[in-house]
Symmetry: C2
Subunit: 213 residues, 2 copies
């Protein structure tokens, strides 16, 4: 019985990795849509986000189904919690990619990322993709070392976010208010994306060690 | 054994209600600090947010302690999930209040909410407080009817958020870029606060009915 339980949870975890791969792809495409003012690609991201929501539902339903029929031991409980939390974080990450895509569509054909901000957003998108890759690895291989490295990538994102804000509110800002508003919100979306990636790292560490940061 | 488990979970739930009351107060004070450009009150919110984080930790630790020693039945599992998720949402709501407070401090003595936006932010703060009150009631009394009403309050917040955005990007906008950037981020904080309140309503409904929206 116990073995079955763990097997079933492991199968759910492979759905989690599928989610993480979809989230990474959504964020890559959202960043490409942002930097290229590409409305068609932004539409793809929005569709992908709804797929991620479906995957989230599948993970949750499977967990409740598994638990509904049996009684989890404490170890299994920790695994269940990790899975549900990671799935919730991934779902939000997908949602943030869709927010970026919607900004692209709202301003199209004007780029939502003003040319003066493009370098910063390119850097943020690279950090985001690096975080996404580590999330996939951390989840697929329960890799504690990779999970622990997510925090320092997040420091890089926070620093970029600070730089963005400094540019936005500097008196030399040459752009219109709408571009600044978009810039502020887009920056926030990338920053929150990184926060959720860090959360997933913490979940993986918690599963492995029982420690919460 | 089973009775003890449920008793212990019920005690954890009273910590959750304490959290919800602290979150409501934090948001009331954050809104008052915003509308009155009150730096001292903003500082109070930031301290209160750290207290909310501690309460969150207490709730999580208690849950893991309870589960660590025993085996939850499926019904108990649903209660545990609800508690952990509601605690996580409350913690984020506290964090969003602190974000508002930090905006107040960053711009002080200039009001972070430009005078032209004050009416909208006053409306958003009233909706936020109404949501907070319903969250307290839903959690304290497991009140399904109140939990279900959170969705329509959130519609009101979304509408205010749309209005705010329209004002921010209108060509008639008479203010500087920094005020617009602050306005956009503050609007987002209120909108997310409402989303987390709605999540808590969903958790309470799920606990009562087993249905997820």
């Amino acid at each position: 019985m116990r073995g079955d339980f763990r097997d079933e949870l492991t199968r759910v975890d492979s759905s989690l990795v599928t989610m993480a791969l979809a989230v990474r792809e959504a964020m890559r495409q959202a960043s490409a849509a942002l930097l290229g003012a590409d409305a068609a690609l932004a539409q793809v991201v929005i569709v992908r986000d709804t797929e991620i929501d479906v995957l989230h539902q599948v993970v949750e339903d499977r967990i409740y189904e598994i638990v509904g029929g049996r009684v989890p031991a404490p170890d299994d409980f920790r695994m269940i919690m990790t899975t549900l939390r990671a799935a919730a974080d991934l779902q939000r990450m997908g949602g943030l990619s869709a927010h970026i895509a919607r900004s692209v569509l709202r301003r199209h054909p004007t780029p939502a990322a003003a040319p003066e901000l493009a370098v910063l957003f390119r850097s943020m998108s690279l950090v985001a993709d690096d975080l996404s890759e580590k999330v996939v690895t951390a989840l697929a291989e329960q890799d504690v070392a990779v999970a622990a490295r997510l925090d320092s990538d997040d420091d890089a994102m926070d620093e970029l976010h600070r730089q963005l804000f400094a540019v936005l509110v500097s008196p030399q800002w040459p752009l219109d208010v709408e571009a600044a508003v978009d810039g502020a919100l887009l920056g926030r979306f990338y920053e929150r994306y990184a926060d959720h990636a860090v959360n997933i790292g913490h979940h993986v560490l918690f599963l492995a060690t029982g420690d919460r940061p």
